[in-house]
Symmetry: C2
Subunit: 294 residues, 2 copies
């Protein structure tokens, strides 16, 4: 299965990258610095986790993943915009991302802010290419907007900044990460399932899967920040500790955090039961994420 | 007519403000600092020009403006986000807007960036409330995304920053403003017309009107920056000169710029001819904008 999942991920990545290149304005388009910056971040070696989950969820409910492709690419644009803005000096002030200097280190703050803005707008333009089915365009695009906004993604980033240097509970930490990481992961899966014309029952199962996968993903991210080097991660390591960020290892200890990641992953697997054998690829993706090292 | 247009603007403003309050999360919602900041900017005394044009365009093609209300509010959210980000220290570094300190002066840069981001996402969530008609939701929301992104609004801001301190031609200046100001004004009108089920001919006339109205609007903005005080404008005056910004008065002289504003306004009026008497409100709005003092 390990070889299988790597081949699967590589193939999906190829499909997603090709679609992103066809949807986005080319980096040579004027203003060139803006389109170059957008492309730079979008093709800086991201793992394409969210769009892959979107396509896999579409297939897991019996759909053709081609219908979900614009939504998968839209989600990746939202994710990339959020990384660019999170790295800004006024936010997490991070110099490294995916083994390369962060966007504002290369292009300056103004262009980094504007490239992030443009990727967020672009996400909705791409999402509007979704042809619509039993879940209409307004429902699907509206859900992406909600997951990107002040009730989810941005709320999570604000709460994360507010929690720096403060003592918070595991429950509060969970609430931050459900919005900061979990909402977009869950939405990626839900949009794919909707593009696949999911039944209400299947959509509920996919949503539950996303909720626990998102939590597991964040716990593992926190563990990796503590245990891995910058070379492995491709971004600054140990930053959470330095910034006095609330993290799972800090609240639960390293072993406790590892147990939490396994527990959340187990819950994610349980949710897939409702999908029967068609949930196998999502299950393999969840196992892969639990075992990842960067 | 002068009293009429003021009464009309006041009434529209009330309708738009009420709708915005009903669509947006309340400022008391957590994270409170984020929702407060969003509300602060959105209700900081904006003239509601773009949403008013949107509703008026809907009526000018024979539609019921209620159908256009979500689109009108979405456009105002995009406009407000763009002002917040344009004012940031890394961009125009402006301390005053609509007679009040700019958002980052009150809430800090991180919250200002995130409040702008959230308003942009919110715009699309609100736009998805448009019920759709002969112009479907995907077409209408997709056009708003295009006008907000790297091909229009953001492109204009990048080109504007790049032009600072450089000698550019009137033609290049026009190209900047068609994207920076013109695109969103034209889109406001087009979305309203689409919500009003405009014929292709009417939509073409509205688009032409928007193009010239947008240019006239920007020339007048440049003139006011040069001739008015901060008290009248509610924002820093004389900033363009200090930042060596390319402006119409700088390239054409004050009198030349005033003539250009009149010429563009005349072209806007001509475009309205295709709409017959139903274009009267849009014509009154164009006259009002030419005569404005802030």
């Amino acid at each position: 299965m390990n070889t299988d999942i790597h081949a699967y991920l590589a193939e999906r990545r190829r499909v997603i990258d090709e679609a992103l290149r066809s949807y986005l304005p080319p980096p040579t388009k004027k203003p060139r610095i803006l389109h170059e910056a957008m492309s730079h971040s979008l093709f800086a070696g991201g793992k394409r986790l969210r769009p892959t989950l979107c396509l896999a969820a579409c297939e897991a409910v019996g759909g053709d993943s081609a219908a979900a492709l614009p939504l998968a690419c839209a989600v990746e644009c939202v994710h990339t915009y959020s990384l660019i803005h999170d790295d800004l000096p006024a936010m997490d002030n991070d110099d490294w991302r995916r083994g390369k200097p962060t966007l504002h280190k290369i292009y300056g703050e103004a262009v980094a802010i504007l490239a992030g803005d443009a990727l967020l707008a672009e996400a909705f333009e791409i999402a509007c290419r979704y042809p619509g089915g039993s879940y209409g365009s307004a429902v699907v695009v509206g859900e992406l907007a909600r997951a990107s906004g002040s009730r989810a993604l941005v709320a999570g980033q604000v709460a994360d900044l507010e929690a720096e240097g403060k003592e918070i509970s595991v429950r509060e930490l969970r609430a931050i990460h459900l919005r900061k990481t979990g909402a977009l992961i869950t939405t990626s899966l839900r949009l794919g399932a909707m593009a696949g014309e999911a039944s209400r029952e299947s959509l509920r199962a996919i949503t539950e899967f996303g909720r626990f996968l998102g939590l597991a993903f964040q716990v593992i991210d926190d563990i990796l920040d503590l245990t891995q080097t910058r070379e492995t991660l491709g971004k600054s390591a140990g930053k959470d500790l330095a910034a006095e960020k609330a993290t799972y290892p800090r609240l639960l200890g390293l072993e406790g955090a590892q147990q939490a990641a396994q527990r959340y992953t187990a819950r994610a697997h349980e949710a897939l039961a409702a999908l029967g054998t068609r949930g196998a690829t999502l299950a393999a993706l969840a196992r892969h994420l639990l075992a990842r090292e960067s």
